[in-house]
């Protein structure tokens, strides 16, 4: 129980209190409680359009991700081929890339003069859709793939022997078995898409708003707290409903896994058998995932119409007056902040996972645990602006006068990373056969010993991946950081954002180089973490 108290206290102080205080302010105008914000917001047709767009886009992006992700999952987790590890790592990179970078990478693609210009998608909702799929493709591939890998091949074989066509076998046997994983991945994708901010800001041009961008606008630009509060509550409601669904589905995935054998379903890829998944996945990876990244890298290497490393050289050496710090300092800041954030997120994540992986006998106990797990996912669905502004009005008095403290940055980033850490760690714990725990206890092992010999070693398997996610998320975090960072001590994403805000070929080139650097840094971290992914355990 105590294990839950520390993370709960952390979440209460650094998330619920600040966000709650700001939302509450929206319900009290001049000292009088009011629902005026709700009435005003929901009587405006614009709000309904925004709500519709948010949910519609998230829904559509989720469908596309699922349709593209299932073939990808099959190829990357059910088949063996040279270079598979590289492709798997590559697929995850977009997920942890900062939106500042993605915005630039995508930005010029759809322009009239850009490579995708002829498609006429500039400022089109399809560009936003593609970016959402770019970000979240890996969520489906991973969730479905890790489960598919362990799916007993005999099921499909039996169907085949009984005369079912491969398609029918897939539809009637494989798909239902994968159902929980697909549903769980889909709801996560939906959650990420529905709360996306940067993509819509950069690619949406100005025509499109989501709840998240509207909260940003109402809060930072108009300081219309009642309206922002009404929107935040609405968003929270949507997210809570989703999390309830996700959690339930994740449970089912976990229970279902017991039926599976080990990696026996994985075989070498052949063109004759796998051409369809190869074509789909290669198209997605090359066109959707790689083109924007290559576009970014190419542009960072161009200078005055020729190829040059000038931008990188400038990044490393130049004393840029617009930054007031050398970029190396920003890289250093990003690294140590990410390290602290990852450590905090891991420490808390381990505690939350240990609590959430308990197997209470009673129905009520199980429900309570689902609630606990869901609670720690909530930061995913609440606007960074709400939390950031909340910090200003809550953490403003001793002993918690942290507003101008750099410590808030890793704390806020840890909050963002925590849900991903828990998602990476929990499956390892769930994968422990309950009979093993019972056997250990029957043989006289006390709780300590169970923890030390069974749970912690199992947890350690997932730690590498979790650490990778936490570190990479923190490296790329911009939303919360932008409210907390100091002008003389920025992180790399903040520097990129600032460089893009200045005129001149030098600043622009350095921004591109810095963005490429950040993408590469993230890719390396994720590839390393991916190499340490737990064997035989499905993570999301």
């Amino acid at each position: 129980m105590v294990a839950g108290v520390i993370p709960a206290a952390f979440l209460a102080v650094f998330f619920f209190w600040p966000a709650g205080a700001l939302v509450l302010k929206g319900f009290v105008v001049d000292g009088v409680p009011t629902l005026e914000g709700f009435q005003r917001v929901f009587s405006a047709p614009r709000t309904w359009r925004i709500l519709g767009f948010t949910l519609g886009m998230a829904g559509l992006a989720t469908v596309v991700c699922v349709l593209l992700g299932i073939p990808g999952a099959h190829l990357l987790y059910r088949r063996r081929f040279p270079g598979r590890a590289v492709v798997r790592a590559l697929v995850v990179v977009p997920f942890v890339l900062p939106t500042v970078v993605v915005g630039v990478a995508f930005g010029s693609l759809f322009d009239t003069g850009g490579p995708f210009g002829p498609l006429g998608l500039d400022d089109h909702w399809i560009a936003i859709l593609l970016a959402m799929v770019f970000f979240n493709y890996s969520v489906i591939v991973r969730t479905v793939g890790t489960m598919w890998r362990r799916l007993d091949p005999r099921l499909a074989e039996a169907a085949h022997t009984l005369g079912a066509s491969p398609l029918r076998g897939f539809l009637t046997v494989v798909l239902p078995a994968l159902g929980p994983a697909i549903a769980a991945g889909a709801s996560l994708t939906f959650l990420f898409c529905a709360s996306s901010f940067g993509i819509v800001m950069v690619l949406g041009g100005v025509r499109y708003s989501t709840i998240e961008t509207e909260i940003w606008f109402q809060t930072t630009q108009l300081l219309d707290l009642p309206a922002a509060a009404a929107l935040s509550i609405t968003q929270l409601l949507v997210v809570t409903l989703l999390l309830v669904a996700t959690n339930a589905l994740q449970r089912r995935t976990t229970h279902a896994r017991r039926l599976h054998t080990d990696d026996t379903g994985v075989s070498a890829a052949t063109w004759r058998r796998d051409w369809a998944t190869v074509v789909v996945t290669a198209t997605v990876v090359l066109v959707l995932l790689l083109t924007p990244l290559v576009n970014l890298a190419v542009r960072s290497l161009r200078r005055d119409g020729g190829w040059s490393l000038h931008n990188y050289a400038a990044l490393l050496t130049a004393e840029n007056p617009a930054l007031s710090v050398p970029v190396s300092r920003a890289v250093w800041n990003s690294l140590w902040i990410a390290l602290v954030a990852a450590t905090v997120a891991l420490a808390l994540g381990v505690l939350v996972s240990l609590v959430a992986s308990r197997r209470p006998a009673s129905q009520r106990g199980r429900r309570a645990l689902w609630a606990v797990e869901g609670l720690f996912l909530l930061p995913l669905g609440v606007s960074a602006v709400t939390v950031g502004f909340g910090y200003l009005i809550t953490l403003n008095r001793p002993p918690l006068d942290l507003r101008s403290s750099l410590a808030l940055i890793p704390i806020a980033q840890a909050l963002v990373a925590l849900p991903l850490v828990v998602r990476s760690l929990l499956p390892s714990l769930h994968a422990i056969d309950s009979r093993q725990l019972e056997a250990a206890r029957t043989l006289g092992a006390n709780h300590w010993r169970v923890l030390a010999t069974i749970e912690l070693p199992q947890l350690a398997k997932g730690l590498g991946l979790a650490a990778g996610f936490a570190f990479a998320t923190s490296l790329g975090e911009f939303g919360a950081t932008s409210f907390l960072s100091r002008p003389d001590d920025p992180t790399l994403p903040v520097v990129i954002f600032r460089l893009f805000g200045r005129p001149g070929a030098d600043n622009y080139g350095m921004a591109l180089a810095a963005a490429t650097l950040l993408a590469v840094l993230t890719a390396v971290v994720m590839a390393a973490a991916e190499g340490r992914r737990p064997k035989g355990v499905a993570t999301w």
Partner: protein, 354 residues
Amino acid sequence: MSFARRTTASTTALLALAALAACSGNPADPSQDPGEGGAAGNELTVVTHDSFALPDELKAQFEETTGYDVTYVAPGDGGALVNQLILTKDSPLGDVVFGVDNTFAGRAVEEGVFAPYESPALPESAAQYAIESLTPVDMGDVCINADTQWFEEAGIEVPATLDDLTDPAHKDLLVVSHPASSSPGLAFLAATVGAEGDAWPEYWDALVANGVKVVSGWSDAYYTEFSGADGEGPYPLVLSYATSPAFTLTEDGSASTTEALLETCFRQVEYAGVIEGAENEPGAREFIDFLLSPEVQASIPENMYMYPVDDEVELPADWASFAPLSSDPIDVPADEIAANRDQWIADWTARVIG
């Protein structure tokens, strides 16, 4: 919670506490720590926007001569900055603020965010910009920029005025940024209000009919859409600053490939002010005087891309040649902007974006 196994759990908790303590004990780079035993009277917190930059030497010099430990915080862009100041009136974010511009200043003044201060260091040339409680520090003109070369090649005359922009000869050439999400965007909206008066909505209808493109921020407009910048986008007219042409010089530096249309400009003035309830009010005043010192004023163009308010300070050579300020910017008083800003944005959004 009967299912929790207490012993196990509490040990884990202890371990984690230790881990947490270990990492929270060292949250900041030691070099960032404010000086040891710095009494409250010795500390000064400067709140700025995210574009704030000054040379290290000048910052160090200020600390040396005054004996203060200065912390700089930048909680967002100009708009977010002002709204945060309003939100935290009861427990101020810091002692002194720099970076409130004239499109947001009125509102902050109305809300009583600033303590009155008239700096003796205010240069004569800047007196015209002073508003209640606030001290002008730097300024810049937001103007339409043109890709001169593009117009030469196309054989079209470069537009000069706001009305030229609605001329069908300039159809589909202009990209601007959104007034709700970008400060130049808001400045341009104010410029059209100042120039067209009550007919500004109709002016925007004409711009829309003439194919104006609206993007969310200055960077998207300038780097992604504008043909005269490094992104080499498709639009030869862009909303930017009067100073931007100084950054698009030809290789030999003898000419600029872009120009600012000086009849389309709105003057942005950035202010500094003592925050009401400041713990270190004397320090806040000293900092404002410091911002007006010739050294800081001279460093502003290179570091913040704005003009110093002191017109006696020497400008970088490129600026003098290629980035003059408008001699006759479109003027809208700060209190009129404060009173109407939100309504303008709402009307504009309904009209232009739909």
